[in-house]
Amino acid sequence: MIYESSMAYESNMTYDIIIIGAGVSGAAIARALSRYQANICVIEKEEDVCYGTSKANSAIVHAGYDAVPGSLKARLNVRGSRMMGRLAEELDIPFRRNGSLVVCRDKEEFPELQKLYERGVANGVEELRILGREETLAMEPNVTDDVFAALYAPTAGIVCPFELNIALAENACENGVEFRFNEEVKDIVRSGQCYELHTGRGTVRTKYVINAAGVYADVIHNMVSRRKLHITPRRGDYCLLDRAAGSHVGRTIFALPGKLGKGILVTPTIHGNLLIGPTAMEVEDREGTNTTREGLDQVLEKAGLNVKDIPVRQVITSFAGLRAHEDGGDFIIGEPEDAEGFMDCAGIESPGIASCPAIGEMAAQIVRDKMGLREKSDFVSTRKGILKPDALTREERNALIREIPAYGNIVCRCEMITEGEIIDAIRRPLGAKSLDGIKRRTRAGMGRCQGGFCSPRVMEILARECGMNLQDVTKSGGRSQIIMGMNKDML
């Protein structure tokens, strides 16, 4: 169910559960809860799912050796990584265990690498191994010649962070979860057995609140609890390279972790690009996703420490994401003591992507037990992704084009995305409403020309499919219109 922003609220409506935030955690929880009989709604302040931290990260399914044994991060990472394979199959999204290497360049730091290994073993990570220089270079010839040793984790993987988030949300939606977009929660008030959420659009009542608000999770939490949380956004700058550079390394190459995070990695993406980053810069602005010169320079410089000859001239775009770092340093999942019926899912920074299946599972179990939820008989665990014509045989593809000619029309030349895929992205549940929405669902505009050729075409298709004017087409909702009027109307 999709709530249209123009619709008036039903005044007496009380939800069983409201999830604040449609990022990967909120979507994973929504999907996990959608198997139960309950009236569930996700409220998102942006126009689409996967809009904050979930859309700008390393997209790594970490093996699970980083977190301190016994922490929630450690437990959920390892569990989430184990669940990811099946989840990817159910949701029809790409996922590959490409393995990862943590590179140690200095003999003196070797004890740190060993510590990481031991942590991994304690956390239950399987198949971990420490490799010597030769073995490392044999596995990844572009790792720096200075490598002394490396920690190899074959179970580490890569996903598409957009598709993961979108697929979780779509599946939840198909199982009856309602989504409200462009609606920001401004205040939460306890009212009898319920909570009242005051939003930019009115008031909504619910029996249970789940806080999955990313970098705003402390703000939401602090509306209901006296035990305050404090989140510091940690910005990470990235550079994305052309697919031509995508096979520069096969595995994800990490540096030894530092104080603020896992350092700058070099990894292939699931779609065959090369991704380098992130930096770690603590910032004040929770919307501060701007890259900086220093940040980008640091990415290029530090990536080169562990991997040689990175073809930095093939950078096609750069971006920054914000990690929601909570002061305690661990994930926070559960009810605060002084706010019954309210659950946090806060401090979800790395390894959030890897953990999301387990976060959803854990949160859903807590709510199920609290509320005594019962399973539905008609829960559908699978979701069909956007049809990718290039995965078809030639005969199948031609049959498809005969039936739906739009699949014969290439719109995005760089990624070879057809009009058929774009229409699918718009029409499906929780469909795309903006250029970025289409980009994240289909990759149209994500290639080397970055939408130079296709954006006017995509705008046309969007306007036609959504019945809007060209002038109302946005890059990513809000005031992000692409055009600002017609020729000469200012003269």
Partner: protein, 500 residues
């Protein structure tokens, strides 16, 4: 499966001229595959005038210029398919394409002419820091929105890069009611044609800020402003020179990149400087029967010279096909041969105005020495990846190809860019296959004043031509004649240099 003698990939100015020339050279079976909705390519959005001065001695708009060629395509009955994307080309010249009507289909060609044009460099390639709001467009995308869709991308505009499209768009946006506040150029010189700086900026009082770049982009949803700063000799921002411009639109005109994904996939060898195929005097790539012309080969300034170059590619492809036919008759399935025989019918593929009148802006050979290959400009704006989409270049390969009886087979002379010269097209010459005149096109790596453009045959300087100024923004040319080359039977390398 369908079969054509020549399949032309792309129906822009290069593809049109190549197809026309091939047809006029006696090949009837020619097919143009165009991915857009109409023929003409990027010319369709170039509604300003200035096209055709060399070809037609007239000032035409882009669509008018395209129309001259489209009309010939129609008159000659050359086949073309629109909305058709070429997905793959094999080394054996099996072309796989797709459209709404036919789905995926194969065409076997005897010769293929690559004429896919180029694309614009995007913001990402420059790694400009800041936010990523709406309101940032490559100049060509904005040109399409304004000139084809009639939409204004914004009201308050800053332009980064002084490539020609950027300059043209500064004027267009002004005429359509926007305020263009400045054009910033990273290099100490413009990447565009002098005439465009005068007619598009100076005439409208738009400041051109050389040695400046965008160092920050503000605005989360829609662009709210950019910060410009002066850069030092190495392109790095100079602290203290930052200046904030409040604007809703940033246009990027920071270079063009030949679209060679198909070529690369089929195994065509690329020149890293031009990002285009390496070709010989016939504009033929390392794969026999696969030719390249126009902006896919190297980015041009003027479309007239794209047409001229493409005309040569069309003739050469026709000659290849004729030889191919001969060879198949005699049963020798050779691939890239082409010697003696060449299309004897060279001629007026450009109606009326014959190209024979090549004039003097193209030196003939000349030379002496300096070095200073400074400005290798690789990452900077402008240069090899030249902005172009609208005007043209001094290109043009050869004029007459009659009497091809010489028997110098096989031997190839290497062309080498030397001091100050970044690349040459072509890179190899087989004298036995060349026309009477061959124009060698190149770009310099920096602005040079009061210099000579010199040509060396091995170590001997055979010619030099005095130039008041040469600049990366304007393509240069040297003409070689067959007669001259025949006098040097042992010649191995021809180098072109900029000398003091």
């Amino acid at each position: 499966m369908e079969k054509y003698d020549i399949v032309v990939i792309g129906g822009g100015p290069a593809g049109l001229a190549a197809a026309i020339s091939a047809k006029r050279s006696g090949i009837d079976s020619v097919l143009i595959l165009e991915r857009d909705r109409e023929l003409g390519g990027i010319l369709n959005q170039c509604i300003h005038n200035g096209f055709g001065l060399h070809t037609f001695q007239e000032e035409l708009t882009g669509p008018e210029y395209a129309h001259r060629f489209i009309r010939q395509v129609m008159e000659l009955g050359i086949e073309y398919r629109l909305d058709t994307m070429v997905m793959d080309i094999s080394r054996e010249k099996l072309v796989m394409a797709m459209n709404r009507k036919d789905g995926l289909f194969d065409i076997q060609a005897k010769a293929v002419i690559l004429a896919m044009g180029c694309r614009e460099r995007a913001r990402g390639a420059l790694n400009i820091p800041g936010f990523r709001p709406a309101g940032i467009y490559s100049a060509g995308t904005a040109q399409k929105l304004v000139n084809v869709e009639g939409c204004m991308p914004g009201r308050e505009v800053v332009i980064l890069g002084s490539g020609d499209i950027g300059l043209i768009m500064a004027r267009r946006m002004t005429l359509e009611g926007a305020r263009v506040q400045a054009v910033a150029e990273l290099m100490p010189y413009s990447g565009g044609l002098k005439r465009n700086i005068v007619q598009c900026l100076e005439d409208y009082g738009i400041p051109l800020k050389l040695s400046h770049t965008v160092i920050d982009i503000r605005g989360r949803e829609r662009l709210e402003g950019v910060t410009l700063a002066e850069v030092d000799g190495r392109g790095r921002p100079v602290p203290g020179t930052e200046e904030f411009y409040s604007c809703d639109t940033l246009l990027l005109s920071v270079g063009l990149i030949p679209e060679n994904e198909l070529s690369g996939k089929m195994g065509v060898e690329m020149n890293p400087v031009t990002s285009g195929p390496r070709v010989n005097e016939s504009l033929e790539t390392n794969i026999g029967g696969v030719f390249a012309c126009g902006n896919v080969l190297h980015v041009h300034d003027l479309v007239d010279f794209v047409s001229e170059e493409a005309g040569a590619a069309g003739r050469n492809a026709a000659a290849y096909v004729k030889e191919y036919a001969e060879n198949s008759v005699t049963g020798s399935a050779k691939d890239s041969v082409k010697d003696g025989t060449k299309a004897s019918t060279r001629d007026n593929w450009k109606d009326g105005t014959k190209a024979g009148t090549r004039d003097n802006w193209k030196d003939s050979v000349a030379g002496s020495a300096e070095d200073s290959v400074t400005g290798s400009v690789e990452d900077s704006v402008g240069d090899s990846t030249k902005d172009n989409r609208r005007d043209g270049t001094k290109a043009g390969t050869s004029e007459n190809a009659t009497g091809r009886a010489d028997h110098q087979r096989g031997r190839e002379i290497r062309l080498q860019p030397a001091e100050g010269v970044r690349y040459t097209v072509p890179e190899r010459i087989n004298v036995s296959r060349m026309d009477e005149k061959l124009s060698v096109r190149f770009r310099v790596g920096n602005v040079y004043k009061n210099c000579y453009v010199s040509t060396y045959f091995d170590r001997e300087r055979v010619s030099r031509r005095k130039r008041q100024v040469v600049a990366p923004g304007e393509m240069e040319e040297v003409i070689l004649t067959r007669e001259q080359l025949l006098q040097y039977p042992d010649l191995e390398t021809i180098s072109i240099k900029v000398e003091a």
